[in-house]
């Protein structure tokens, strides 16, 4: 079953590897531009113990923690904004603004405030990831069937009950759209965080590897980042399947679709 569901990814992965190998070997794309898959694999193995393991661990920690913070913050903010159209109109431009302040500008400010610890990195990851969660949450909450809310109001439903029992569950699919996006952006966030000064992590490895023309090492880092991203993404999708079982997997069996 699981094997059946995975083979397309595996197949595409293999085709892609083949194409990659083809491009590098047959079209002779230079190794420092695009290293061949086997070079990346070799580097991955050779540098795992010395460099990549600890870097993966550091970056993975930043990703997971930053992601968790951003989901919590995004849900809280989205929920809070939902309660007031005025607050929403007032703060939405700020939220968008928060996405246009580039990392290069924020990084020094954060470093000065928080020093060169993990904190500024977490803040950067969270800042990048919380936005889709907020937008997903707000959009989900705004699209709840108003009739359901009306129904709740006649059934002793007060504001909080309506939120927790109707609005939030109804918004969950849309919330998960945002959370899924956040999961995909966590890697980018962590790399940027590390660009602003870090002594370990995959972003740091890349930053050192690029001027050293260590393309195979850089690609090995990218492979690891992608693997972690995909893992986080899959995790989120599993959580969704668990938490939103009524949705997108309707049990209406035997339909001729």
């Amino acid at each position: 079953m699981t094997a059946m569901r995975l083979w397309p990814s595996v197949l595409v992965g293999l085709v892609l590897l083949g194409a990659w190998e083809f491009v590098t070997r047959v079209l002779h794309v230079e190794e420092y531009i695009l290293p061949a898959p086997d070079q990346v694999a070799t580097t991955l193995a050779d540098r795992w113990d010395s460099t990549l393991r600890s870097a993966t661990w550091v970056t993975g920690t930043e990703m997971v923690l930053g992601f968790a913070i951003s989901v919590a913050a995004g849900l809280a903010l989205g929920g809070a904004l939902h309660f007031s159209a005025v607050a929403r109109r007032a703060l939405y431009p700020l939220l968008i603004g928060s996405q246009t302040v580039p990392v290069v500008v924020l990084a020094p400010i954060l470093a000065i405030i928080f020093g060169y610890s993990i904190t500024p990195k977490l803040i950067l990851v969270a800042l990048i990831c919380f936005f889709p969660v907020v937008v997903g949450t707000l959009d989900g909450l705004a699209s709840v069937d108003p009739e359901l809310v009306r129904m709740m109001r006649t059934l002793h439903g007060r504001r909080v009950a309506i939120f927790t029992r109707v609005e939030f569950p109804a918004a969950l699919p849309s919330v998960f759209t945002g959370v899924r996006l956040a999961a995909a952006y966590a890697a980018t966030g962590a790399v940027f965080g590390e660009y602003s000064g870090a002594s370990d992590g995959l972003g740091h490895v890349m930053r050192q590897g690029v001027p050293q023309l260590q393309s195979a090492l850089v690609f090995a880092a990218i492979v690891l980042l992608t693997a972690m991203s995909v893992a986080l993404f899959v995790l989120v999708s599993c959580a969704e399947r668990l938490l939103v079982p009524w949705h997108r997997h309707p049990i209406r069996e035997g339909n001729n679709r």
Partner: protein
């Protein structure tokens, strides 16, 4: 006390059910102590171009039962939603057990919508116990209280099924059950039994009659089934086609007994048939 009226057929202590947490309602008895029932004066409502209700006057004495019949689209559902305070009338006043403000009306009315409006992510039991959860009961306790009604309405087997897994009639029964479980002094029922076969429908009508006999409530029942209106209500009014106004009112003499036999007798009663034909004639001319 609220719980005194509770007809959830469990052996609970009367004080166990906490009062509704609505701020507008403090002691539950206050909700029923006034002399008025549901009063509408010159209530009107437009939706853009559409005049849905035009100057409706209605007076439902406390603990009496009013049936509303009328052509499709004449504003019956709109009227119910104005009574319970979910929609503001454009003109006129609505008073429910002494409350004229929307929150006060909301606190007093349980509304069974025409669409079932079940929560798709909750199973039958979880949907049915929503009003009790909203009143602060634990899930366990709330489940314990609605379970007997599930059994009674033939839904016990489906307690964990989600709405998408139910038939249309089952969904309607869950919706009805949920409204009853809200345990409010005023029941606004919008075609409560429209999706049920005649046998199940008769059964539920009987149950409702018995429940109301036991502990009277003020009921406004919208239905397309004239017989149903006449069987369940003290008075039946006929609304005209849009813009809806009350064009006829028929008082219905009470009848005793429950069960299939009493019902059959009632349906065969020439007085009843005459009454039915009167209402139908009004309805015909109301078109």
């Amino acid at each position: 006390m609220f719980a005194r009226r509770s007809r959830l057929p469990t052996a609970q202590s009367p004080a166990a059910l906490p009062p509704a947490q609505s701020p507008a309602v403090s002691p539950a008895d206050a909700l029923r102590s006034t002399g008025t029932g549901v009063e509408l004066r010159g209530v009107a409502k437009r939706f853009g171009e559409t005049a849905a209700v035009a100057g409706a006057d209605l007076s439902v004495p406390p603990n009496s039962r009013l049936g509303i019949v009328g052509p499709s689209g004449c504003g019956k559902s709109t009227l119910l939603s104005m009574i319970c305070g979910l929609t503001d009338p454009d003109a006129g006043t609505v008073d429910v057990l002494g409350a004229a403000d929307a929150p006060g009306r909301l606190a007093r009315c349980a509304w069974m919508p025409q669409r079932d409006l079940l929560l798709p992510w909750r199973g039958v039991l979880a949907n049915a116990r929503i009003p009790l959860e909203n009143r602060g009961l634990s899930r366990r306790e709330a489940s314990r209280r609605v379970q007997p009604l599930l059994d009674r309405f033939g839904l016990a087997e489906f307690a964990d099924h989600r709405p998408a897994q139910l038939s249309g009639g089952m969904r309607q029964r869950v919706s009805f059950l949920r409204t009853v479980a809200a345990d409010k002094p005023v029941l606004l029922l919008d075609e409560p039994f429209g999706a049920l076969d005649s046998i199940t429908r008769a059964d539920l009508q009987d149950w409702l009659r018995a429940m109301l006999a036991d502990e009277p409530r003020t009921v406004v029942l919208v239905t397309h089934d004239v017989e149903e209106a006449l069987l369940l209500c003290d008075r039946v009014v006929v609304m005209s086609a849009r813009p809806g106004r009350i064009v006829a009112s028929v008082d219905v003499p009470a009848y005793a007994g429950t069960g299939a036999a009493a019902r059959r007798t009632r349906l065969a009663d020439p007085d009843f048939i005459a009454l039915r034909d009167t209402v139908l004639a009004h309805l015909e001319s109301a078109r």
